[in-house]
């Protein structure tokens, strides 16, 4: 089924939209989640959550590129899940619990200042990506957006493994230089 037809199903609020999305983009989204989480159960959950988010977002949204739209949702959910798991690993003691409780008292900057900063960083990263040669940009995105392994990227683009590593090394150096030049402190 084509994207426009799937989107029509969403707009018509037909539940078949979910199964059709699963059919067309299930593997794609699962792959994104898997590369980040490396856990079957968590990946499945993230993919299912993606369909729910999409169901809630469409309408009013009507994304031009459904794959990217769904992929971005899966990626964000997977990153959140990853952070959640790693935070849990870091502290199981009472101290961490106490800190978490106290954290509720801290004003939520994310809603104001941090939101703006995150958007600014996104804009900068996009600007940076546009300055890269096409192949370099592709390799960077495959690694840090899709979190693919070096070998997968090499196979995808018919490159040598070392070329992929070198390309990424250079791009990271460029990004660092770019962020420093822009005066960004994370």
């Amino acid at each position: 089924m084509r994207d426009t037809e799937i989107l029509d199903l969403y707009w018509a609020r037909e539940e078949r939209a979910i199964s059709e999305t699963q059919l067309s983009y299930g593997n794609y989204c699962y792959s994104i989640a898997w590369h980040i989480l490396y856990d079957r159960e968590d990946s499945d959950e993230c993919v299912n959550d993606t369909w729910l988010r999409a169901w809630n977002a469409i309408p009013p949204k009507r994304p031009n590129r459904l794959a990217m739209f769904l992929g971005t949702i899966t990626r964000n959910l997977s990153l959140d899940r990853w952070k959640e798991k790693h935070t849990m690993k870091r502290g199981n003691g009472e101290m961490m619990l106490a800190l978490d409780e106290l954290a509720e008292c801290v004003p939520d900057r994310r809603s104001t200042e941090e939101e703006v900063e995150a958007a600014e960083l996104e804009r900068m990263l996009n600007d940076f990506l546009r300055t890269l040669p096409e192949r370099e940009c592709n390799v960077f995105l495959r690694r840090y957006w899709y979190v693919e392994e070096y070998g997968e990227i090499a196979k995808r683009y018919g490159m040598k493994l070392n070329t992929v590593k070198t390309s990424l090394f250079r791009t990271r150096a460029k990004l660092r230089e770019y962020l420093e030049r822009e005066g960004v402190i994370l």
């Binding site: 995150a118 683009y157 005066g183």
Partner: protein
């Protein structure tokens, strides 16, 4: 994210103790906002998609299919032409250097020039002519003999390798190989010639000539003072107190002992041993250093792993890693087979063997540094290190 100038925000970040991983995660999250267009492009630019496109457009596919064979045929043709040209050129030069008269050489060079094989042959008769005028046919024969003797040394050791600068100080100056010995004799020969030209010079001039001879004899081919080397047998090298235990008991298959020596110019106790196997060679130097060299961080492969970079290294290796990449020193406790693998690389150089080659050093307790420079598989080299008495 903060901009410089907001000092309080920096403090805030350090207070919150956000790790580098956490900061990296913020970049990762920000990447979620990457342009869909760019993401889509990264999907479309893949090899798989090219082949899919090929199915749709048969014309494109057929071009793609035939382009590579055509390129291969073209490459073969170019290689063939170059090979034939090189063969003709080499034969011409060999003929000239192996006993033909100066007239023959000149004639051949004219022929070659007429064949249109470039400017290189033109330089040969000029040299030959000068030598002929100065020394004549006998001297030419001696030169050929000497060259053939020295070529044995050159072919085994001169073929190497990455860390040529490592060898320069010690090995390059040995009498039985390399440029230094030859140039020293050339210096002597030049001295003889000058004697021939002015046989009746006064005592003062003779004295000056003698001192000049001594000076010349002390210089190597680069005009640098030649190293004082004490030749050793393999057994003598192995019995050197404190150092012999760091010479491997086991060498890779078909390698045979070539030479061993101590560099007497160095303050530090040292012994060097070499093995060769056809064009392959191994140079193994054990030194008791006074100043302990800085070792590489095994957790930072970018500082020593050659596999991460491509030739030309001058362009791909970052400035800050150049030194460690050229000659890394591993601490013995960090030294593993994987570390050896990171340094032993096979290069597909034309006319060369495909044996992996590389160089590195290992710092052992008591300030002993073992420097390896040569060829072999990583496993073979690892076994060498493992077979040292000191490794027990």
């Amino acid at each position: 994210m903060r901009h410089h100038g907001f000092e309080e925000s920096e403090k805030e970040m350090s207070f919150s103790g956000e790790s580098r991983q956490g900061q990296a995660l913020r970049i990762m999250e920000a990447l979620s906002g990457a342009d869909e267009e760019l993401l889509e492009r990264s999907e479309n630019g893949s090899v798989q998609d090219i082949s899919v496109y090929g199915k749709r457009g048969s014309r494109h596919q057929s071009l793609w299919r035939y382009a590579r064979p055509c390129a291969a045929v073209l490459c073969l043709a170019v290689v063939g032409v170059l090979g034939w040209g090189g063969y003709r050129l080499t034969r011409g030069v060999n003929d000239m250097s192996s006993g033909g008269s100066m007239n023959d050489m000149a004639l051949k060079s004219v022929e070659m020039s007429a064949d249109g094989e470039g400017a290189a042959p033109e330089a040969v008769p000029e040299e030959g002519g000068a030598a002929g005028q100065a020394a004549g046919g006998m001297a030419e024969e001696e030169e050929v003999d000497r060259m053939s003797q020295e070529n044995a040394g050159d072919s085994s050791m001169g073929a190497d390798t990455d860390g040529a600068h490592d060898l320069g100080g010690t090995f390059g100056a040995t009498g039985n190989s390399g440029d230094s010995g030859m140039s020293q004799r050339e210096g002597d020969k030049a001295e003889e010639k000058s004697g021939d030209i002015q046989p009746g010079a006064g005592a003062v001039q003779e004295g000056a000539t003698e001192s000049a001879t001594e000076e010349t004899a002390m210089l190597d081919g680069e005009g640098c003072p030649a190293a004082k080397l004490q030749e050793l047998t393999e057994a003598e090298a192995r019995s050197r107190e404190g150092l012999g235990d760091y010479i491997p008991e086991k060498v890779p298959g078909r390698y045979s002992f070539e030479s061993a020596f101590c560099n007497l110019d160095l303050q530090e106790a040292n012994v060097t041993i070499t093995w060769s196997r056809g064009m392959d060679s191994i140079l193994w130097t054990v030194t008791e250093v006074e100043k302990v060299p800085e070792t590489v961080d095994i957790e930072a492969p970018e500082t020593y792993d050659r596999r991460l970079y491509e030739i030309p290294y001058a362009e791909t290796v970052p400035q800050e890693y150049r030194q460690s990449m050229d000659s890394p020193v591993f601490a013995w406790e960090d030294f593993t087979l994987e570390a050896v693998r990171s340094r032993m690389i096979a290069y597909s150089d034309r006319g060369d063997t495909d044996t992996p080659r590389g160089n590195f050093a290992v710092l052992y307790p008591n300030n002993i540094v073992v420097r390896f420079n040569g060829r072999g598989t990583a496993e073979e080299i690892w076994e060498m290190f493992d077979s040292m008495k000191a490794a027990d």
